[in-house]
């Protein structure tokens, strides 16, 4: 049993009751998580390490109670608002869900009036192939341009000053069930984007697009032969189960990898020193595991690749032959820690399956994988082989399985966590859901869902469907946690003022003390919050906090899609757990910006 000690300069050493101890210290030198901060917000995750931490400390635990609404802006759209607003050069950029409008707001003038609006030419039929509301998770700023994705599988580059479209590249086909919802990152002049569609039997891929010209430089598929997956001679997976040739074909029955899912629809982090970017792939298609025997590589896999060529450096499959729709796409927070006296460059990945993976980001070795939430579908991760030991009584298939936890959205879905180097904690917005399921034969018709599972979700132990918690990587334990009625589907931001912000699906924007979870402030906005809060320094030198409100996403589909709660299997089973959401919130699409008076 491993145990971690935390020994930063400010916190006292805590005695460890277990036999074997590993000394974990956030290093004081070359910490990737302590990057310089200019008070802007240039990419959805704030920085390439995805810490979502701001050094701004004007708002503190003492004064946050007096936080006031500064101004608002209506996006004119009513679907789920998942984006993070960007702030660059005193301009705020907001991306909306379909029809994926891009607004630029002038922060130098009172009330932040609209500078320009970019309205892309987008195919409305793409709304029919978005599994989980027509959301968009945000944009990235790079060298005077805003880069973001459109739902109909296009990536655009827009001039950040004028709002003119510079290039637009079509990367896929909605008639294959593909769409795009993720926020891109730009690394070494390459815009890295991936498709969505793990519920549609797509063939998942991640592509590198030249930021200057819009031409596709490389495309790494997640299934198929090694040459398609961009696995070459430099590919060195750490564990034996991931070693071999053409595993993207061999671990599938004949030809099923071509409709095998494994899309890359969520977060990407980048380490400029190692020159590696990190991302995970989605669930394999269909959900019904009996139709795709084998470990189904490279679904639910963490990849490390080079940004200029896309070639893979290492990979680790967290959920081989996934049977619970545990996508591997959650964020990878890059941290430099000292473990057992050794300085390790790691990534912290809170997976859907309930385990917090601390992985050496140079080699792919799993250093620890403790559970950060209640789960009975798995027992543990064997650190020698990297294999996830599943609970056989919760194995899905043609039999009915009840009370399996966590439900398909996982202990945590896409909603991103944040890390504070001051407290050393990871702030996890997450779910507490269990489910029952029965597989049925899934039929593949290109452009339509390919799932094959009847699902009903419901609240997990305790009755609350969401939790906001702080996780300490040093002790691999939850330090504090707050129950929420609904899944905490919003992002989080943590500041040097030791305040952590998040939003709830019933419409409260909340501030907690990052050290102990004490509630400090809350504000009721017009609609449930599933977006990512950001904080920035305005042109007047004041610190502002901005968040989009507008419920939706997979969890809020019952409201944003106007679904009928009578049928619990709606929204892939989420309606059964969320049919009361309509009592607490309606649709919305408003940006809220707060500051001290």
């Amino acid at each position: 049993m491993s145990c971690f000690f935390l020994r930063p300069t400010k916190v006292l050493l805590r005695a460890c009751p277990f036999l074997f101890s590993f000394l974990v210290v956030p290093t004081s030198f070359a910490q990737i998580q302590n990057q310089p901060d200019d008070g802007q917000w240039v990419m959805a995750a704030k920085n390439h390490a995805s810490t979502r931490y701001s050094t701004l400390n004007q708002i503190t635990t003492e004064n946050v109670a007096s936080l006031k609404l500064a101004w608002t802006f209506s996006t004119g759209t009513l679907k789920g608002q998942e984006a993070a607003p960007l702030v660059v050069n005193n301009t705020m950029y907001v991306v909306t869900p379909f029809p994926n409008l891009l607004y630029a707001l002038d922060l130098t003038k009172p009330g932040a009036p609209l500078k320009w609006m970019y309205q892309p030419a987008i195919e409305p039929a793409s709304q029919g192939v978005a599994c989980c509301d027509v959301v968009n998770r945000g944009a990235a700023y790079y060298k005077g341009r805003i880069y973001y994705n459109l739902l109909d599988v296009q990536t655009v580059a827009v001039d950040a000053n004028t709002g003119k479209e510079i290039w637009r590249t079509k990367l896929g086909d909605i008639n294959k069930g593909e769409s795009m919802t993720m926020a891109p990152i730009v690394a070494k002049g390459v815009v890295i984007v991936g498709n969505s569609g793990g519920e549609f039997g797509v063939r998942g891929w991640l592509a590198g697009v030249d930021a200057e010209t819009g031409k596709v430089k490389w495309r790494a598929y997640a299934t198929g032969p090694d040459k398609d997956v961009l696995i070459g001679s430099n590919f060195k997976p750490f564990y034996k189960m991931d070693q071999g040739t053409d595993l993207g074909m061999k671990t599938w029955p004949a030809d099923t990898w071509k409709i095998g899912g494994a899309s890359a629809w969520s977060w990407i982090s980048y380490d400029p020193d190692l020159d590696l970017f990190y991302y995970g792939t989605s669930n394999p298609s269909p959900w019904n595991p009996e139709q795709r025997l084998g470990s189904n590589k490279w679904s639910s896999t963490l990849f490390a690749r080079r940004p200029e060529t896309g070639e893979a450096s290492w990979a680790y499959q967290m959920n081989p032959h996934d049977i619970h729709d545990y996508d591997g796409v959650n964020e990878n927070v890059l941290l430099d820690l000292t473990i057992n006296g050794r300085a390790r460059k790691v990534l912290a990945h809170p997976d859907r399956n309930g385990h917090m993976y601390i992985i050496d980001r140079a080699t792919g070795e799993v250093i620890s994988a403790e559970k950060y939430a209640y789960s009975n579908t798995s027992v543990a991760v064997d650190l020698k082989t990297g294999e996830l030991k599943l609970n056989p009584t919760k194995a899905t298939g043609y039999n009915t399985v009840r009370d399996a936890c966590p439900a398909p959205p996982g202990s945590k879905d896409w909603q991103p966590s944040s890390f504070s180097p001051r407290t050393g904690y990871l702030y996890l917005p997450h779910n507490n859901l269990c489910y029952e399921s029965q597989a049925v034969q899934a039929n593949y018709i290109a452009g339509t869902p390919f799932v094959g599972m009847n699902v009903r979700m419901y609240a997990g132990p305790g009755g609350n469907r969401g939790i906001m918690s702080a996780w300490d990587p040093a002790t691999a334990k939850t330090v504090w946690s707050t129950d929420e009625m609904f899944p905490v589907w919003s992002g989080t931001v943590v500041t040097a003022g030791d305040v952590v912000f998040y939003g709830t699906m019933d419409g409260w924007f909340k501030a907690l003390d990052a050290r102990n979870g004490k509630p400090l402030w809350k504000f009721k906005v017009g609609s449930g919050i599933i977006g990512q809060p950001v904080t920035y320094k305005g042109p007047d030198g004041k610190q502002y906090v901005a968040v989009l409100s507008g419920v939706g996403g997979w969890s809020g589909a019952v409201v944003s899609g106007g679904l009928n709660g009578v049928d619990g299997t709606g929204a892939l089973g989420f309606v059964n757990a969320m049919s009361d959401l309509g009592k607490y919130t309606t649709k919305g699409g408003m940006l809220y910006v707060f500051s001290l008076p």
Binding site: A125, G128, T448, G562, N564, V566, G568, A571
Partner: protein
């Protein structure tokens, strides 16, 4: 001289005749072009000029046939309708158990929706599914809203269903 003017005349006549073809105007259209598509499935309640009486209605030939409604239930999952509409509650697509229909809830409207698709994501199934199967699906969708006789409506889905309340609600058309 004669031959020169004759050839000029011939060329002139040719040009004139081709001009005739180009300049042809159909000032008085033939009766077949007078059709007014009065029985198309209307999606709007606005009728400029007042209602037309009597209004022709396109009916579903499989109304009230228990076998065909049950076939519609089978095709609803065979053709992945349940992938977007779940068991009537909706998911990617809107619910099909409802009072307010975006594109009209009459059999002709639902038939049109399935065959032609709709702009905001409903796929166009026409061109592959045979017409009789579309009517069977229409009959099933209407049965979900209590618009078919209960004696002909399927009492259970084809998969193992654990919640009898859901079944009752499926055929009542009520919204929760």
């Amino acid at each position: 001289m004669f031959f020169r003017s004759l050839s000029a005349l011939t060329i002139g006549a040719g040009l004139f005749l081709t001009g005739c073809q180009r300049e042809k105007r159909d000032i008085r259209p033939s009766p077949t072009r007078l059709a007014v598509y009065g029985d198309a499935a209307k999606e709007s309640a606005l009728r400029p000029g007042g209602p037309i009486n009597p209004q022709p209605v396109v009916t579903n030939p499989y109304n009230s046939s228990g076998y065909d409604i049950s076939e519609g239930q089978r095709l609803f999952s065979w053709y992945n309708c349940n992938g977007c509409h779940a068991n009537g509650g909706g998911a990617i697509g809107p619910p099909l158990i409802k009072q307010q229909w975006i594109y009209g809830g009459e059999p002709a409207n639902i038939f049109d929706t399935i065959i032609k698709g709709r702009p905001n994501g409903m796929p166009a199934w026409g061109g592959r599914i045979p017409e009789y199967q579309v009517w069977q699906i229409v009959a099933y969708v209407r049965s979900m809203n209590g618009q078919q006789p209960t004696s002909a409506t399927p009492t259970r889905p084809d998969t193992i269903e654990t919640n009898p309340q859901t079944l009752r609600n499926r055929t009542s058309g009520e919204t929760k």
